[in-house]
Symmetry: C2
Subunit: 410 residues, 2 copies
């Protein structure tokens, strides 16, 4: 999707959450799955059956909740109503017992909500290869109290190494009715293009045609969550859920209408905002890196080049040191699958052009370094070959990342 | 190449170097390219014209020396005699001036040696995008004194962030004559599969058929230098040169002979030894990681899976913390292009099996952790799908890597 409108047709909802749209409730509590005793279990549900779409990790060791949720969405013809989620345990690499546990989590949730288990998705995040502490889940789920104002609680309960919750909501008008989109995500390690979200939940009161919901979610995820990287590792558990309950009363959105485009634009804005929040809160990160690649020969080339730059350990380390070592950016682009003519590439750090026609402009290092001081650093690479562009987000590589990941399971 | 002989038919030469084979000389000095004042310029040459082969970086921003050397090897029909090399400046992203500088380096070297510039290769390593300090090169090359016993000096002059020189030499008998292979490499950042060496120089006094030299070097590099990773970044300058001067007087080796196989086996042993030295000396590394993948459905799958594990930031960080968080190994394999059946995969850390049929064996964490204490940690993944296997080498991700790379150019 290309955002062509110059004026945005949506507005941001202050203090938005995953329950900002009408007819969504959430609940969360500390069930004792996390050793820290922090909130780690929750349910997010709509008040009625929804049109649903999901995108899931391509990892070949998919966690049990991914296997279950993917199968349910396919079997239910894109209908769902609730997601039960936990942090502290990924329920991955747990074999048949893991699948049985995920199924039990969905049954317990269905009982609690009085709906069919077929309408319940499951999302887990945390350590891999440790059996789910089902006694705590069994005790926890019946104690969950679901409220429309508990979105923020839910956002806290899916956090693992996140330092802050990640939420966003917007509103727009469709057919004279206000339609809302509210969402939450968690990061922040094992994040890499190809369903990079770890976990994302998006609820809207729009009426969505199911095919439109599926294709739009995939398109938006490809341009947002799949364009961020923290450490190059794609998790076994990445899942993104979209539930549309239709309670706004707005007319149903199908592909190829102006209203549908406006909805997709608003959805992309929500996911872009969350993607930036996730990259900025990458494990140990102190800076957000936003890379724009322009002038690529194809969209695929632009995406590959942008992701290569945000994924380069050497670029990330240089960013941490506010070191305008721009050769590392070209080296990363040159390692990607993108078509490159070294004599045509240009490079900017912030507003300072550091390379032109593949060679340095001779700009003073201090001028380039000054562009790297802030919490967000912009890099633009123009390949000089065509009209395609792409944007990707990452973060710096810090000592804190290493410290955090050297002893995660212990 | 599969090493099928149970007894090795070669012997290691103690204190070996790139001049261990007959008829090779080297020289190095501090020309002032490195700010540290350490040795940074040298020549490695044979006493006569050689059969030569080279492998080079696939990076699309190849440095000027790579462009020049690759073109010369193609034009000379696999003949070369010398390599001029420097550290401290990569001569990459320097445009036409960079190419002119690399050509001048080869001319100065040819003058010094009294040979044609067409027989001189160039290899540079260091920072990207900074013009070569040609005044220092012009002053330095004529001062180089070339001696058969200066191999160790050469190995020091190609170091950048390496903490120690990397050298290896072996001898074997071919047709009643002793044949030697001597080599040196440098690492140790920007190292990743696909010509991972940064710089490698291999000299032998064997007589090699030129086609055999090319195919054997490529095969061995694919199984050794291309199977190590330090940080996932492939440099603009990676180059590997093989010079065979024939001065042993041994018969010419061509493909498909038993002697040729034995030579290839010895060459692979040299390159494996150097690959391990490079991985162990990865920037900031404190541990060498050796990953064996067995039971893969194809050789390509085995290679992809093994490289994914040594390339995973989360695996590398866990290794640093001696944390047997084996789920990260499966997650890395699951992100590779390798065919995987999650229910068949098995995993060992050292001699302790931590997973079977895709799930944990329940072995005590301390038992697994004990296998991670040493300077070398072995991990084996059996995919349970076929007969193919591969080996890859990497290192842990440490705070020191971040510190080292946060301010390299400054």
């Amino acid at each position: 999707m290309t955002v062509t409108s110059t004026a945005r047709s949506f507005r941001t909802i202050a203090d938005g959450s995953v329950t900002s749209a009408r007819g969504f409730r959430a609940g969360a509590l500390a069930a004792g799955i996390k050793a820290s005793g922090k909130p780690d279990l929750g349910i997010w549900t709509a008040d009625c059956e929804c049109v649903a779409a999901g995108t899931f990790t391509p990892n070949k060791f998919p966690a049990a909740p991914v296997i279950l949720s993917r199968a349910r969405l396919a079997a239910s013809d894109s209908r769902a109503q609730a997601v039960v989620f936990n942090a502290g345990n990924a329920n991955a690499c747990n074999g048949q017992q893991g699948l049985a546990d995920a199924q039990e989590m969905s049954r317990l949730t269905a009982d609690q909500l009085g709906i069919s288990p077929d309408l319940v998705m499951v999302a887990s995040t945390g350590i891999i290869g440790v059996p789910m502490p089902m006694d705590r889940i069994r005790q926890g789920i019946p104690r969950l109290v679901l409220r429309p104002d508990a979105g923020h609680d839910a956002a806290r309960a899916i956090m693992t190494t996140d330092t802050k919750p990640k939420e966003c909501a917007v509103a727009l008008e469709i057919g004279g009715r206000e339609v809302r989109i509210g969402a939450m995500t968690k990061g922040v390690g094992m994040i890499h293009p190809n369903m990079a979200t770890m976990l994302a939940f998006i609820g809207t009161d729009a009426n969505l045609d199911k095919a439109f919901a599926r294709t739009t979610l995939k398109r938006v995820v490809d341009r947002t969550f799949n364009m961020i990287t923290v450490d190059g590792d794609t998790s076994t558990n990445d899942s993104c859920f979209l539930l549309a309950n239709g309670l706004s009363g707005a007319p149903t959105l199908e592909a190829s209408s102006a209203d549908a485009e406006r909805f997709a634009e608003a959805l992309e804005a929500v996911c872009t905002d969350l993607a930036r929040q996730m990259a900025a809160d990458g494990e140990g990160a102190s800076k957000l890196l936003e890379v724009n690649v322009t002038g690529a020969a194809s969209d695929a080339d632009a995406r590959a080049a942008a992701r290569a730059v945000v994924g380069s350990s050497l670029v990330k380390a240089a960013l941490h040191g506010e070191d305008p070592n721009w050769g590392r950016v070209f080296a990363a682009v040159g390692n990607s699958t993108a078509q490159v003519d070294a004599s045509r590439a240009a490079l900017w750090i912030g507003s300072v052009q550091v390379a032109r026609d593949g060679i340095g402009t001779g700009v003073a290092k201090d001028a380039a370094r000054a562009q790297m001081r802030g919490a967000t650093v912009q890099v633009r690479v123009d390949l000089g070959l065509g009209d395609s562009s792409a944007r990707a987000w990452g973060c710096d590589l810090t000592e804190a990342y290493v410290v955090e990941n050297s002893a995660y399971s212990t």
